[in-house]
Structure formats: C-alpha cells, structure tokens
Amino acid sequence: LVPWVPVVGLEVHAQISSNSKLFSGSQVQFAAPPNSLVSFFDASLPGTLPVLNRRCVEAAVMTGLALNCRVNKKSLFDRKHYFYADLPAGYQITQQRVPIAVNGSLSYSVCVDNKMSQMVTKTVRIKQIQLEQDSGKSLHDDTRSQTLVDLNRAGVGLMEVVMEPDMCCGEEAAAAVRELQLILQTLGSSQAVMAEGQLRVDANVSVHHPGEPYGVRTEVKNINSLRFLAKAVDYEIQRQIEELENGGTILNETRAFDSKLGCTISMRDKEGKQDYRFMPEPNLPPLILYDAKSLPANMNHQQVVNINSIHERLPDLPSVKRAKLVEQYGILPEHSFTLLNEDGLTEFFENVVNQTQMKPKKVIGWILKDLLSYLRQHSLTVKESPVSSFLLADLLNLLEKKEISSTAAKQVLAELWKGEGKTPLDIVKENKLELIQDQKELEKICQAVIDGRENEVITGSLC
C-alpha cells in the first residue's frame, strides 16, 4: 500500500483592531444596530473615495515583523471584482500584486503522540500578508427568498496571512493558527477571537504519493473554531484518500465544513471558475513605508510609518515569553505552553509565586493540575475563578510550613472552591486538618495503635 502525503496550506483573515475602518472613518464594533456603522463610502455611493487608516498600516507592519517577513517599502492596492450582495462596490480593495509583507515564517509546537512532555517545534512559511477590506454580512431568508444585508462590517480592515502548504494534518493546522492567534493578541494588531469572526481560516488541502507532484487541492471554508479546523482538515484528507483509492478524482473546488455532520460539503456553483479581473486601484497611490535610513527630513511625522520604530516597540512574542518563564521559574517548556494558552493564567501563577515561599516548580503543579482542572470542569475562565491567587498562595504557605499535609491541602482547595469566603486557615481549623507536630503526642498515638486501641485514636479521645 503506497502511503499518502497530505498537504495543508491556510489563508487566515484577521480583523485589524482599530477604532475606524480601513478606508473610511466609520466605527469598528461588533454587534451594533444594522447599518449604523456605515459611511457613504462603505455603502459605495458615487463620489466617495478611499482614505487609508494609518493604524491599519502599522498593525500590518507589526504583524509582518513579528512573523519574520520582509516588509515591502512600496506596496500597491488592487481591485478584486465579483458580485455579491454584501459587497456594495462590486469589488474589494486588496493587495494582489505587491502586498505589504512577504516571505516570513511562523514557529509552533505540536505534541508527539498526544504527550505534552514531548513537544516538537515546526515551522510554516508565511507567503505574504496583505491589507484588504472586509465585506458586509448577508443573512439568508430562505422562506421569503431574499437576502438581508448589514454593511457594518463592510470596509473593516483585514490582514490576510497566507501560509504555505507546509502542514500535514489537522493538529498542525490548529497549532499554527493558535500560535498566530497568540502573536496577534500579544501585538494587539488583532483581538483574533474566532467566535466573533475576528479570525477566519480557510484551509487548502490535497494529497499525493511521495515523490509525485502535488495533487489537486480543495478549499475548505466555514470553519469557526480551532477544534473544527483540525476536524475539517482531517476529514478532507481522509475523504480525498478514499476517493482516490476508489479510482475517483478530486475536483478543484470550494467545500464548506458542516460542524454538525463533521464533514465537508461541495459548494460548487454552476457558474464555473471565478475571474476576479484584478486591476490597480486607481484612487490610491503606492503605499510607501520608511526606515531610519530612508526617512525624509521634512515630512509631517503623522504621514510617516517608520518600520524601525515599529520594530523597536514590538512586545515580547509568546515564544520569548515562554522561554523567559522557563528560565525564571525553572518550569518545564510544556508548562509554559499551558500558561500562555489560558488567558490570565500566567499572571495568576506569577501572583501566587510572589505571595508564597513555595518554589515555583512546586507551585506550577497546583496551578496546572488542581486549579486548571477545576476551572475546565466548571467551564470557568481564570478571571472567574472563585479561588484567588491570594487564597491559593495562603493555602500553599500552610503546606510549605508543614502545618497541613498535601492531602489535606487538596481537601481545603475543594472547600475553597465553593467560594464561601472562608480562609484556608478557617477550613483547616473547622475540619481539624492540622498536622500534628508534637513529638510526644505522635508517640502516644503510635503506641495506642500498637496496643490495639486504634478505635480510640480515630474517635479522638486520646488526642
């Protein structure tokens, strides 16, 4: 049986975190009254012109630098034409010929055989990052055979990040997107919340035999979460393998992922291949970016985007943050991944460490095993935790001072979880969980057990 090599590439659209849109001054906001955040330009009324938002340019440059791209000092805007109800102009302004950043890379980690202790670093090449407009939203009303259109989202700035087909399965695709999400959130260039449509992923999937040319690829859309991304990619790989092994062929088509059925469905429309008739955007001159060397002397600084100063202001990326946590606290690399993966967990961990004498290497166990599992069981975020870092530190101090055993500590934590406002010490006293330190007292108990009077020990009459 000849093996199959799956090939996965991704196109990720990230909504830029900005106050106003890419080419107009209307507000960017999720869930506002329909068509309330729409300017004349967004509605494509005649006589309106695009005016580029500097913040969007800076967000794209930041992202390009964080992904090791070459930032193009001159990039161009183009029109991509197609007809759809939520695209009032009949074209989208994008960057097809010369985008703002090219040739980068993204490193991410995957677990070998599902064991977090064996993590492997992989890299995916970033083909390019381009600035483009988002479209409006269509609501399909099938009963009345009409489409309702809300243009609030039309014109919001997007960064399209194109990842080369260097991935091989759903797990790698999800891990790469997760890392990109963390990077975008760290930079602040996008809040990248998939559930609010701020991060959308389309997957390009194909399979081939080793040594042979790449197979025909399909594009999978309508993926709303990282979990579904992995499922959709893996399903599509399997579907293609089965189709080919049964003597069938793969069509170069777009497929939608159905999360309920867990499969991909053909979206093939009867109109054949799309021709976007790309043309240069005639209303926008080239976008010129500067660095320290090329900076013109007399230019208004508000009109200048300086790549070097943006580079200097870049925050620590997730990979750097993880390395620092491992170095500073002596925790394992896989621990640092979990800390960064859960919103607010790193801060919680550091707060506990700062308030307790217990070594960070021991604290991390309590954070990742006890605290995190409680939170996950009850579907709570770190911010919603009924046990604060202060309370946990308090508890760990009792343990560290050997005033209670670790079994007792777990019991106290379970009590603290109820959020009744008691302190760890209160709970210890209520339940008589204190460790007996008195040598003589311990001898009395041991002697009683040896003498066969253990019942009296248990009822406490001897203590």
Binding site: S20, N35, L52, Q146, T147, P285, Q303
Partner: protein, 98 residues
C-alpha cells in the same frame, strides 16, 4: 482577431452586461480594434504605469471615528428594506437573458 461566442458569453457573465445583438458585438469588436492601436507603441524596457498618482503621497488618516451613524439617510436609497437591513435577491446575482 475576432471576438468569439465563448469570450462574449464569459464577458457578459462577468460584467453582467448584455451585448444583446450583432450590432452590440460589432461595436465591441470596433472598440477592441481601436484600443489595439496601443500595441504600436514600443514599450520595451519601460516600467508600466498604473496611475498618474504614482508619485503622489498616499495620505494616511488618523484612526478616529468621524463617520457613520446615518442609517436613515442610507436607507433612502433602498428600494426595499426589512427593519434596518437592505434587501437583496437570494444567492449569486445572475445575468437573466430576455
């Protein structure tokens, strides 16, 4: 070079324009021939220009909210509306041949 039926159908579909009759096709043919005269210019070694604005400065706007909030005005243009939504036909717009 003539404009074939296939090319014509493709153009009509993409641009939602109906060339309708042979007179329309003839006019299209003549327009293409007129534009083809550009090929007589020698452009060897010359960088294409896509806009007369190419050496202008691209103005960058501050990220402030200065527009929007004019739903009622925009809706005046809508032939049909449902609550505050524009109404459009379902699915992809197709060219309907009469």
């Amino acid at each position: 070079q003539t404009v074939t039926v296939e090319v014509l159908a493709h153009l009509e579909h993409l641009a939602l324009v109906d060339f309708r009759d042979s007179e329309g096709v003839e006019r299209l043919q003549k327009a293409i021939q007129f534009a083809d005269q550009l090929h007589e210019v020698n452009t060897d070694g010359i960088e294409p220009m896509d806009s007369v604005l190419e050496d202008r400065c691209l103005y960058l706007r501050d990220d402030d909210v200065t527009e929007g909030n004019c739903m009622k005005e925009l809706m005046k243009n809508a032939r049909e509306k449902v609550e505050e939504y524009f109404v459009a036909p379902p699915g992809i717009v197709l060219l309907i041949k009469i």
